[in-house]
């Protein structure tokens, strides 16, 4: 089975966000594979190990994305395509058009990706790609069983589990709990260096101006007001507990 994995490189979730000239500061930031995309990479490799086929990573982002791609290759992905973009402003609409135009040139049975990216968190691009390719989108997957031409997926829906089935190809977005991503092995890391990485530019793709034109516009980015540390209650535990209820009821008025 040939599987495409859509993967984004994101800030490490440990990172604090700071702004320089109204933009998110990237200096000194550790970058990782978007954690939800990492589940997708792992799932793709597991399916390949069982059924054979090839796993291709498809990414859109600055050239630093290569390090995330090499990590996915060290885990077991076979090859990758990176649409390099350093500074052309994009949004979910234009990003989906760009990725779809790359995907349309590939042969695939299944597309896997994360259900959201931990940086922007908008959770739009996979659904949009499903629409552009005319294939079903199945979101927040916690179990995937692909066999032959069919796939059965368990989805997390606000804590409930929904079991759905569809005929391939489909695009499936991973939720936490799908699997435990492996650590790259040392031989894996060595092999990854030589695996093929194709680099493309947006201009190389067959897209109209309208398709790469973002529909949305960012007006400003700001940091939330810093939360002040509040009151540590004192005294006997029973009194503290009573005081807390009293404060929540009469001062904060939330119970």
């Amino acid at each position: 089975m040939n599987i495409l994995v859509l993967m984004k490189q994101t800030f490490d979730t440990e990172e604090k966000i700071t702004l320089t000239d109204g933009k998110v500061n990237e200096d000194g930031i550790e970058f990782i594979i978007n954690p939800y995309d990492e589940y997708a990479v792992e799932e793709a490799i597991k399916i390949k190990e069982n059924d054979g086929g090839e796993v291709t990573i498809v990414s859109l982002g600055p050239s630093r994305t290569e390090s995330a791609i090499r990590t996915a290759m060290a885990m077991g992905a076979d090859k990758a395509i990176l649409v390099e973009n350093e500074d052309i402003p994009l949004d979910e609409f234009s990003a989906a058009n760009i990725l779809s135009s790359v995907i349309k040139e590939q042969e695939y049975d299944l597309i896997l990706c994360g259900h959201m990216a931990v940086d922007d968190g908008s959770s739009q691009v996979p659904q949009r790609i499903g629409e552009l390719l005319g294939i079903p989108y199945i979101g927040t997957a916690v179990k995937v069983e692909a066999s032959g031409t069919q796939v059965v997926v368990e989805r997390d829906v606000e804590g409930d589990t929904e079991i759905v089935e569809a005929v391939l190809p489909v695009i499936i977005a991973a939720q936490q709990g799908l699997n435990e991503p492996r650590y790259p092995s040392l031989p894996g890391i060595m092999k990854a260096k030589k695996k093929p990485l194709e680099r493309l530019e947006i201009e190389d793709l067959n897209l109209s101006d309208d398709e790469v034109q973002p529909r949305t516009e960012e007006i400003s980015i700001y940091l939330p007001p810093k939360k002040e540390a509040g009151r540590i209650l004192k005294g006997e535990l029973a009194d503290q507990s009573k005081e807390l209820i009293e404060l929540l009821r009469n001062e904060a008025k939330v119970i």
Binding site: E92, S122, R128, Y137, E158, T161, Q176, R215, E218, I219
Partner: protein, 325 residues
């Protein structure tokens, strides 16, 4: 300039979801005198039209069809496209719920439109809707607008105030016949296994009672459920508690997990790692209970108790029982 606004009304467990009322209040702000329509999908949903009218819908489009009882992305998308065909909305608002986040981007793409996800506030400036939304799970915020075409957004539960209903208002009900294409039926729902019946939905809850590694066991979480039941609250957890299998990942609050903004957030035995804090620090009031006085959670808590959570919980439960009595 007045705008036509469409709101998807969501019914869950026999009730309209609160976020649907929040979306209607947002719609009134945007419509500027324009028409507001709402959509109800599934069997036996006509009864909800009156509430939608009271909260601001002028029209309610009704697609009563058992094929829409179980949500599928393309089934709902096509149903909404049918409504948009009748009611050419300038603005479409949907709750950022399990359904909303799954459906709305696909709908937006089929309309070649831009979309803002998970908006926590909105205002109309120079005839344009300016949305505020969190990025990096709330470590920062962005203000965004949609430059051209339809304006489509999902709104985060619990953030947009609901206007008082006017019971004198009535919505006109318009029935449509659901006409799905073959594509809409490509994904079949085999089964839905209810697990989340225990308590209130995490993202919509006004009060969240969360536990971390300090809860120490699955049984420990039972005590949190007891407190949550008394407060009509939802239970959440930190990643640590999920990794240790005290709690299910579907309850995880944090940067990987759910971002919540309740009126009141209890953090029991949670140290306050940056990833967890990103998921809850925009709660209105935060209470932390932790043995470790140096735990970073105290830096963002409005009220803190330095103690073993299992010493505090029974007293809190008793006090609340007395208060409720």
């Amino acid at each position: 300039m007045s705008k036509k606004v469409l709101v998807l009304a969501e019914v869950k467990d026999g009730k309209l979801r609160n976020v649907s009322y929040e979306a209607l209040s947002a719609a009134k702000k945007i419509a500027d005198g324009g028409e507001i329509a709402s959509v109800l999908l599934g069997s036996n949903v006509e009864q909800y039209h009156s509430s939608l009218g009271h909260y601001g819908a002028n029209k309610v489009y009704l697609l009563e069809d058992p094929k829409l009882d179980l949500y599928t992305t393309d089934g709902y998308k096509e149903a909404l496209l049918q409504v948009i065909n009748e009611f050419p909305a300038d603005v479409i608002l949907v709750g950022h719920t399990g359904i909303g986040r799954d459906l709305t981007p696909k709908l937006a793409q089929s309309l070649k439109a831009g979309m803002v996800s998970d908006s926590t506030a909105l205002e109309v400036v120079d005839n344009q809707v300016v949305f505020t939304r969190p990025i990096y799970a709330g470590k920062a915020f962005v203000k965004k607008t949609i430059k051209e075409g339809k304006v489509i957004a999902t709104i985060r539960p619990n953030n947009i105030p609901v206007d008082e209903p006017d019971t004198g208002l009535q919505a006109e009900v318009i029935k449509l016949t659901y006409q799905p294409s073959e594509t809409a039926l490509l994904v079949k729902v085999r089964d839905v296994i209810r697990k989340a019946s225990k308590g209130v939905d995490l993202t919509e809850a006004k009060i969240v009672v969360s536990g971390g590694r300090g809860v120490k066991s699955k049984e420990g979480f039972e005590k949190l459920y007891e407190l949550a039941d008394l407060l009509n609250a939802a239970v959440g957890s930190s990643r640590g508690a999920c990794d240790a299998e005290y709690s299910d990942y579907s309850l995880q609050v944090g940067q990987t997990g759910k971002v919540v903004t309740p009126d009141l957030y209890f953090a029991f035995g949670i140290s306050g790692a940056i990833q967890h804090v990103a998921g809850m620090s925009n709660s209105k009031v935060i209470v932390a209970v932790n043995k470790d006085p140096e735990a970073p959670i105290f830096q963002i808590a409005d009220y803190g108790i330095v103690a073993d959570m299992f010493d505090v919980l029974p007293i809190l439960i008793d006090e609340i029982k007395k208060m409720n009595a």
